[in-house]
Symmetry: C2
Subunit: 356 residues, 2 copies
DNA sequence: TATTAGCAGTCAGGCAAGGTGAGTGCTAAG
DNA sequence: CTTAGCACTCACCTTGCCTGACTGCTAATA
């Protein structure tokens, strides 16, 4: 029902509204853009757009504002992701290049992304997924306390404390036994995909003499927990202060938004649902964020851009930005895409290096 | 210059202002508190308090508001930290008791504290300080990549990646050598205070045959870095959303506040400067937060409460809350103190357990 | 049929005037 | 030292008015 010019009108409405933060009227449109038609014609087009619920008027005699649906059409059909400036590319390379470990990479990534977009930047730790066990460490911290450390080939290190209940006789954690245990654990599990590790761990204790078995079982249980640890889904974020700066973009307080962000579960779920086509950026707009648990309605006036990056081991994770629905989609999508790509390259470069 | 009753007046002004968010006048005071004198008398007292710059009037015909200096006097002389309710104590115990490792403890601590106070809660990782090395791990991740893991008796695990430049001949990282290296590192350094470890590491490589020395030196250097890693000063925080809820307590936007908080350096410095007397709570009010670097003026309308806790190994770290100067000092100081105490008990209980 | 000009109608937001009430400082008396 | 009384100030609210930016509609035009 909407003519080509109508879509063009929608585009400039979105662009002008994002830039000016003010409802845009027919007159302003003909003034700022050369449509070659009069304001009245634009008004007719706008009437159609309104009928399609792509724009709306805050009050009777004001200009129009894009609806969530309008943004959706804009993002799907009208936006072309323009490449970053070379200065920005430069910034990405130099800033991310200095990272020393995964924590650092993600911390830098989010800080960088929040600077590029002036929004809240989010990055998910790579899920264990297809990662493999590189090394297992068991360290005695005291007569009844043990620490297990799980190191994966993705560079992830996960430690856990274990209190061993005193047995009869008291468990003997001499170094020699721990050495043996460590050796056998690594022999049995080294190189195993995490997905399979839990299975193997279950039967691991039975290969030990009965008096050792309960202790070993405890350790194995602990490691099994680590394997499926929910930690794998931790989020890093940066630039929450940007929300305060764009505060006027929210009808009420930014409190519910901040709250929803702190409740990382919501974002993780949301990230999980957003499907990313190859090297694309996926967008979830306003009400589309609904339904990811209580508190998610705090995100009803925000949009989330997400892209995926692959860490070494082929495990996939998400990164993106969150901001008010009225954001510069074009620029932000470009930034997310560029950073995601660079991140993939950075992490798989390590990978290659490692495999050679 | 200020009479006893004058101080009492200051107290109720602070209390009423904190509770009502509105300037409090002489009439309201005599109505709500039984001073046994008339409003006019209170007015005289208030005139004196104003002369001492303990209170101020936002505009000519309005009630008074405490100044930073007024809050200072209130905190120093007029507040008694009332004990928590038993329900609150209960909450602390059950919530913190479930923690599995140090990360978890601090994450839970901040979430709890932010709930108890409705402010932003902060906790510093225990500084290595007097901590000792418990265990060192060296893991080959590939032909030219090594990961070093440093585990301290405070339960801290710090890993780092190391790219080893190909030598002549290419470095041989067979398991046997790594085993030897690991053993010697632990023999040499296990139990060493971190403060001394860097020293010893410097000469460590020289005890190896020349063809191994460069490689070992690289590893030792990497470990030395870890020992003095700035990471030791990381902060955990929770409840930033609370800032948005108390937004009206700030004259401008909360943007500079959020920004200052993200810039953890400022808070870490501030924490460092605040001196904590035994089991006390230290308070830094408004302008007192100034001078901790650019961005610190974002904190000019906030107060920071801090207490210390001792982790195992006797290392001291801070935890506290941050909120608008107009906060419930009495309650918040109680909460900070109680949580700090409990945390110390929790961590040193482990310690004891471990030493027995 | 698509476009345009013109016109009447709507309504948010800004501005000024006036009233209200909370709160003060001062003074003189108890 | 305390109190009552009084004049004064000033933020804040309400009301009314005006302006300007829009719109939707209609009738003329290409």
């Amino acid at each position: 029902m909407v003519s080509d010019r109508g879509l063009e009108v929608l585009r400039v409405i979105v662009q002008d509204y994002v830039a000016s933060r003010e409802p845009v009227g027919s007159k302003t449109i003909v003034e700022r853009h050369s449509f070659g038609v009069s304001a009245a014609t634009i008004r007719n087009d706008m009437a159609q757009l309104e009928e399609e619920e792509l724009i709306a008027a805050p009050h009777t005699s004001s200009g129009r504002v894009p609806t969530d649906k309008g943004y959706r059409v804009f993002v799907d059909q009208l936006t072309e992701v323009r490449p970053l400036t070379s200065a920005q590319r430069q910034a990405i390379e130099t800033f991310l290049g200095q990272a020393v470990d995964l924590d650092d990479v993600l911390s830098r990534t989010t800080r960088l992304l929040s600077q590029l977009t002036n929004q809240v930047a989010l990055a998910q730790y790579p899920s264990f997924g297809s990662a493999r066990i590189r090394h297992i460490e068991v360290v005695a911290l005291g007569p009844s306390r043990v620490m297990t450390v799980l190191i994966t080939d993705t560079g992830r290190v996960d430690q856990r404390l274990l209190e061993v209940q005193g047995g009869h006789p008291p468990i003997d954690m001499d170094d020699q036994f721990l050495n043996e245990l460590r050796t056998r654990l690594n022999a049995e599990l080294g190189g195993t995909a995490l997905a399979d590790a839990a299975e193997r761990l279950r039967s691991f204790a039975s290969t030990f003499p009965p008096e050792r078995a309960p202790f070993v079982a405890a350790i194995a249980g602990c490691l099994a927990e680590q394997v499926v640890a929910n930690r794998q889904d931790r989020l890093v974020m940066a630039g929450t202060a940007n929300l305060a700066r764009t505060e006027s973009d929210f009808s009420g307080s930014i409190y519910p938004v901040l709250e929803a962000i702190e409740e990382q579960v919501i974002l993780i779920k949301l990230f999980g649902e957003m499907e990313i086509d190859a090297d694309g950026v996926s967008v979830s707009i306003g009400h589309e964020n609904q339904g990811f648990g209580p508190g998610a309605q705090g995100l009803s006036e925000t949009s989330v851009l997400a892209s995926g990056y692959t860490a070494s081991g082929g495990s996939m994770a998400r990164l993106g930005v969150l901001g008010p629905t009225r954001m510069d989609y074009s620029n932000n999508m470009a930034a997310v895409r560029a950073v995601a790509r660079y991140l993939t390259r950075l992490l798989s470069a390590n990978e290659k290096h490692e495999e050679q």
